[in-house]
Amino acid sequence: MSRLLVEALAVAAKDLRTEFRTRVALNALGLFALTVLAAVSYTVGPYRITAEDRPFLLAVLLWIVIFFAALAGLDRSFVKEEESHTAPLLRLAASPTAVWLGKLGFNLVLIYFLMAILVPLYCILMGYKIQLVGGFALILVSGGYALAVITTIVAAIIARALTRGALFSVLSLPLLLPLLIFLIQGTAGAADGTAETVTSTLRAVLSMGGIMTIVSAMLFPVVWAD
């Protein structure tokens, strides 16, 4: 295994271990997601939306829950390093690329864990029927990746700022909004069985994820060092 991969895995494993012991990010993500899911399923429920509007409107609600839950918790890994004064030693010990990859890996685990619990619950509680299950799964995986890439680099940028909480949302939303729109369209397509919509969405989301990965890999060493 290459040294970079070993270092990145060490960073991700350390973050997962500390998160497992404190559950700060998990609680933030989980509480937000479950509270909104409970509120939506209680007030809207499976029968208040007409069958015709159901694929699109339920896709909107699903991604709103996922996005805002992610915004509530995915900045923690970098912010915590700064707040607990562990960032300087990490800066001196690990290569910037390994730190970025490790933090990205940690955020991926969090977002996929959230999706694994939230999405089936949402589909059951809201009676959301998906025609193209495979396409829907690919949209979730690619959407989760793009979401993690964007929130990881934004979290790194804001971690050293004083007004972190507000900045994270302000900087993330313009980057996440196009992604949100694509994912809603793709999910609606998967729900009503339109394969072309799913394919074009996957293309767009993977492109966004790829572009953000390249930009982040180039930008992170500068953000992290200075």
């Binding site: 040294r3 070993v6 270092e7 060490a10 960073v11 350390k14 271990r17 500390t18 012991r21 404190t22 607990s84 004064h85 562990t86 300087p88 030693l89 990490l90 800066r91 001196l92 010990a93 690990a94 290569s95 390994a98 060092a225 200075d226």
Partner: protein, 215 residues
Amino acid sequence: MVSCGAMADGVRISFTDVAKRYDLRVVFRSVSGEAVPGEVLVITGPNGSGKSTLLAILCGLLRPTRGMVCHVLNGDETAREEWRNHLGVVAPAMSVYEELDAMENLRFFARVRGMNDADQRCHECLELVGLETDRRTPVRGYSTGMAQRLKIAQALLHDPEVLFLDEPGSNLDPAGKGWLGEYVHGLAAVGKTVVLATNDRDEMKWGQNHVTLAG
């Protein structure tokens, strides 16, 4: 590009006309000096004079507002990415992970430093600082002195060529301070470079060269 000069072995750090300013606040103006292998460079000065800031600049964590810092390893100027492999730092503003225990902390730092099969070295370092029996206690449960010992173990883990110590004796008991003083002398004796920021009269005596910052 300005040449940093050359020297045969070990790490030499030379800094010339270094200044640091945060917005309108000037921390220090025009500080120069040199840390050479086999010697301890002591940085002193009153509170707020910028000792920790200068240390952070010398170890590469901060960029100076003005001036030049050269890190020379075995005669060659060292790139920033390579430099981090050769230094260990102990400072009050740098913490280890409180949620992990001592062994987990050292294992983590060993892995990100690319050290293979480092368990033996982790045990040696914990033994060295007197934490071997407490290696499974989460750092959150440590006293400030024990946490300081773990930070010292972390800094020594990869046997660095240069050691930066910012008030290293803070929170250590007299026996711990005595041990650290002897250890630092031992490091200098084998050709390591040590940079020490302190106002402690006993620690100041560890050094051969002094840089005094004005308040």
